[in-house]
C-alpha cells in the first residue's frame, strides 16, 4: 500500500471514529452509517478469517486430497445451518448435541477441580505454614476464609436468614461490596484506556502528514450539527435519548 493509501486510511479511520463519537451529542445519520458498517465489517473480517484459516485448510484441502474423514464434522457443522429452515431444523440438533456433549463433558471435571477443590485448598493451605507466617499474613488468611464462608452463606438459600444467621450473611455482603468496588474502580480505568486509545489515534491523524484529517472532519461534524440544529427543532426529550 502506497503513501496516498495511508493518508486515505487516516481520513477514513478518523471519519468513522468521529461519526461514532458524534452519537454522544445526538443521534444522526453518520453515526447510523458507521454503526451498520461496523456490524458488516466485523462479520466480514470473521468470515475471511474462518475461510482462510479453517474452511479452506481444514475442510476443502483435505477433501481435495481425498481424506474423506472430514466429511463427518463438515456435515455436522452444516447441519447447524438448517436451523433457519423450519421444516428440517431438527437436523441442526445433530450438530448442537455434538458440540454440547463434548463441551459439557470437558467442563464437569475441570469445573470441580479448578473452581471447587482448588478453591477450598487455596483457602486452607496457608494454615499448614502457620509457623513461618507473620501475624498480618495469618490475619489475612483468616480474613479470606471468614469472607468466603460469609459470602457463601449470603448465597445459601436453604435456611431463613434471621437472627445471628442474618448477621453472618450481612458480613458476607460487605466482602462482596469490596469486590464490586474494586471492579468498579478497575472498570473506570479500563474504559478510559479504550478512550485514550481512540484519542491517541485521532491525535496521530491530526498531523500534517494526514492532512489534518481529525480537525477537518470534526469541524464538518460541528457544522452539520449547527445547521441541523437551526433547521429542525429537536423533539422533546431527545437530548436524553442517547
Amino acid at each position: 500500500m502506497t503513501e496516498p493509501w495511508m493518508i486515505a486510511g487516516a481520513w477514513l479511520a478518523a471519519g468513522l471514529t468521529i461519526f461514532l463519537f458524534s452519537f454522544l451529542y445526538r443521534d444522526n445519520p453518520f453515526f447510523k452509517i458507521a454503526e451498520h458498517l461496523y456490524l458488516g465489517a466485523g462479520m466480514g473480517w470473521w468470515f475471511q478469517v474462518y475461510m482462510f484459516n479453517i474452511w479452506k485448510p481444514k475442510v476443502w484441502e483435505p477433501l481435495m486430497a481425498h481424506q474423506w474423514g472430514v466429511i463427518i464434522p463438515a456435515v455436522l457443522g452444516l447441519s447447524l445451518v438448517t436451523q433457519f429452515i423450519p421444516k428440517i431444523s431438527w437436523l441442526s440438533r445433530y450438530g448442537f448435541t455434538f458440540l454440547m456433549g463434548y463441551g459439557a463433558g470437558l467442563a464437569v471435571p475441570a469445573g470441580l477441580s479448578t473452581d471447587f477443590m482448588n478453591q477450598i485448598a487455596g483457602t486452607i493451605r496457608p494454615f499448614s505454614a502457620l509457623a513461618s507466617m507473620t501475624p498480618f499474613a495469618i490475619f489475612n488468611s483468616l480474613l479470606i476464609a471468614l469472607g468466603v464462608v460469609c459470602v457463601l452463606f449470603y448465597f445459601f438459600f436453604s435456611v431463613e436468614h434471621k437472627g445471628s444467621v442474618k448477621k453472618v450473611s450481612n458480613v458476607g455482603i460487605y466482602f462482596l461490596m469490596v469486590y464490586f468496588g474494586a471492579a468498579f474502580g478497575n472498570t473506570v480505568m479500563a474504559r478510559f484506556s479504550l478512550l485514550y486509545g481512540r484519542f491517541d489515534d485521532l491525535a496521530s491523524f491530526s498531523s500534517r502528514g494526514s492532512f489534518y484529517a481529525t480537525q477537518i472532519i470534526l469541524a464538518v461534524m460541528v457544522l452539520y450539527f449547527l445547521v441541523t440544529g437551526f433547521t429542525k427543532k429537536p423533539q422533546q426529550g431527545e437530548e436524553e435519548a442517547h
Binding site: 454503526e35 464437569v108 485448598a121 499448614s128 452463606f153 445459601f156 471492579a183 468498579f184 422533546q236 436524553e240
Partner: protein, 418 residues
C-alpha cells in the same frame, strides 16, 4: 532448508554414534565402579503412557556435588540414551506429585519419572525399555546400577483423580435426589429481600398511572440468568395484570421474545385479565447491543416509567440503562449474574439481586422443579465448602502446631486437584 535438515540429520547420527561409543565405554568402566543396589524400573502408574518410574535408595555418601544421570535404551540392545541429569538432592520419593492414596514415597529413596516421548518417539504401547542410572561427582563416575527393564504403557484409571471422581458422584447423587424431591413435594427456599420491592414498585406504578419497564437483557434463552428472568417476568406481569397497571418489555433476542410472550400471556390469564393482554407488550428493539441500549434509554427518558426492572444477562449496557432510569426517577430493581456489571446496578438501583440471588428469585417465584433442584445442589456445594473450610483450618492449624506432618499432608491431598 533441505541443506539445513540434512545437516541436522548428520549431526543427529553423529551424536547417536557418540552415545553408542559412550555406552560401550561405560560398560567397560562398569567393573571398576561400585553398583547402585536396589535400582528398579516400572511403568509410570496412572498416566497416558510414555513415561517410566525409576526408584533406587538414597545414598548417604552422596555429597552436594553428586549428580545422577539417567539412561534408557530400547531392549534390542541399541546404545544408551541419556535422559536426564540432576543433583542428588533432587527427585526423592517425596517429589512425586501424587496423593497419599496413590503413592507412598519416602525421602529415603530416589523416585524419578522418566518422560520418554521425545527420546523414543516410535515406541508403541507396551514397548519394553531398559534403564540404568549412574552417579558421578565432578565428572567422575562414582557408581552405576545394573540395567532394569520395564514395559511402558498407558493405564486405565487416574487413581490420583479419585477425589475428583468421588466428588462428582456425590454431586450427581444429590442432584438426582433434589430433582425427584422437587417434583414430588417442593423444597424450601428462603425469602429474597429484593422481591418484596416488586409489589411496592407495581403499586406505585398503578398510583401514578405510569408504565413499568421490564428489560430482560441481552442473553439468549440458553443462559441461566435469562431463564430465571423469564420466570420473574411471569410473576411481575401477573401482579401487573392484577393491579391493572401497564408493562412494557423491550427485547434484544427474538427467541427470548417468543418465550416472554407466552409467559406474559399465561400470567394475564392466571390473573383473570386475558382481556387486558396485548401482543405488543413484548416488542423487539434491536439485536445490536448499543442500539438496543440507546433505544430503550430513549423510551425510558421519554415515558418516565414508575418502575424499571433489569433482570437477566447484561453487559456494558447495564451502565446506560441504570443511569437513565435513575435520573428519570423510577424505582429500579435489577438482577444479573454478570459480576462486573453488578457495581453499576448496585449504585444506581434501589434493589439489586446479586448473582445467584437472581436464580433463586426465579426458583422462589416459579417453584419450577428444575430451577429448584439446581439451586439445591448449589446450596449443597456451598455447604461442603463451608464445612471443609472451617474444619480444614482447625485441623490444619492443629496438625501444624503438633507437627503431625503426615496428617496435614492427608488433608491437603484431599482437596488438591491432580
Amino acid at each position: 532448508m533441505i541443506k539445513k535438515s540434512s545437516l541436522c540429520l548428520i549431526l543427529c547420527l553423529a551424536s547417536a554414534g557418540a552415545l553408542h561409543a559412550a555406552g560401550k565405554s561405560a560398560k567397560a568402566a562398569q567393573a571398576a565402579v561400585p553398583a547402585i543396589n536396589g535400582f528398579s524400573a516400572s511403568d509410570m502408574p496412572y498416566d497416558a503412557g510414555g513415561a517410566a518410574l525409576l526408584r533406587w535408595p538414597v545414598n548417604a555418601a552422596d555429597t552436594e556435588t553428586t549428580v545422577y544421570t539417567v539412561y534408557a535404551s530400547s531392549s534390542d540392545g541399541a546404545g544408551w540414551v541419556r535422559i536426564d541429569e540432576f543433583p542428588s538432592s533432587a527427585n526423592t520419593g517425596k517429589g512425586i506429585d501424587l496423593p497419599f492414596w496413590a503413592w507412598d514415597g519416602s525421602a529415603a529413596e530416589h523416585a524419578y519419572k522418566a518422560e520418554l516421548g521425545n527420546f523414543f518417539p516410535g515406541a508403541a504401547e507396551g514397548t519394553v525399555l531398559r534403564f540404568k542410572v549412574a552417579s558421578s561427582d565432578k565428572g567422575r563416575v562414582t557408581a552405576e546400577s545394573l540395567p532394569a527393564e520395564a514395559a511402558v504403557s498407558g493405564n486405565w484409571f487416574r487413581l490420583d483423580r479419585l477425589n475428583n471422581l468421588l466428588l462428582l458422584v456425590l454431586v450427581m447423587v444429590v442432584f438426582f435426589w433434589a430433582v425427584s424431591h422437587a417434583k414430588r413435594k417442593g423444597l424450601f427456599i428462603r425469602r429474597i429481600a429484593g422481591l418484596d420491592a416488586i409489589d411496592e414498585a407495581i403499586g406505585r406504578a398503578t398510583e401514578m398511572g405510569k408504565p413499568i419497564y421490564y428489560v430482560p437483557g441481552i442473553g439468549s434463552m440458553s443462559s441461566i440468568s435469562t431463564i430465571a428472568s423469564a420466570f420473574i417476568l411471569g410473576e411481575v406481569s401477573k401482579k401487573v395484570a392484577q393491579y391493572d397497571s401497564f408493562i412494557k418489555i423491550p427485547h434484544y433476542d427474538p427467541i427470548v421474545m417468543t418465550v416472554a410472550k407466552e409467559v406474559v400471556k399465561q400470567s394475564y390469564m392466571e390473573a383473570g385479565r386475558p382481556d387486558s393482554y396485548r401482543e405488543d407488550l413484548n416488542f423487539f428493539v434491536s439485536q445490536d447491543q448499543f442500539s438496543y441500549a440507546a433505544s430503550v434509554d430513549g423510551m425510558i427518558a421519554r415515558e418516565k416509567p414508575a418502575a424499571c426492572f433489569f433482570m437477566g444477562y447484561f453487559m456494558a449496557e447495564s451502565l446506560l440503562l441504570a443511569e437513565v432510569g435513575a435520573t428519570s426517577g423510577a424505582i429500579q430493581i435489577a438482577g444479573t449474574d454478570v459480576e462486573h456489571q453488578l457495581p453499576f446496578f448496585f449504585t444506581a438501583c434501589d434493589y439489586t439481586l446479586i448473582g445467584e440471588e437472581l436464580y433463586a428469585a426465579g426458583a422462589y417465584l416459579s417453584k419450577e422443579p428444575m430451577l429448584m433442584s439446581a439451586l439445591k445442589v448449589q446450596d449443597f456445594g456451598k455447604l461442603v465448602v463451608m464445612v471443609s473450610v472451617l474444619l480444614g483450618i482447625v485441623l490444619l492449624a492443629l496438625g501444624t502446631k503438633l507437627h503431625w506432618d503426615s496428617f496435614t499432608q492427608v488433608i491437603l491431598n484431599l482437596f488438591k486437584a491432580y
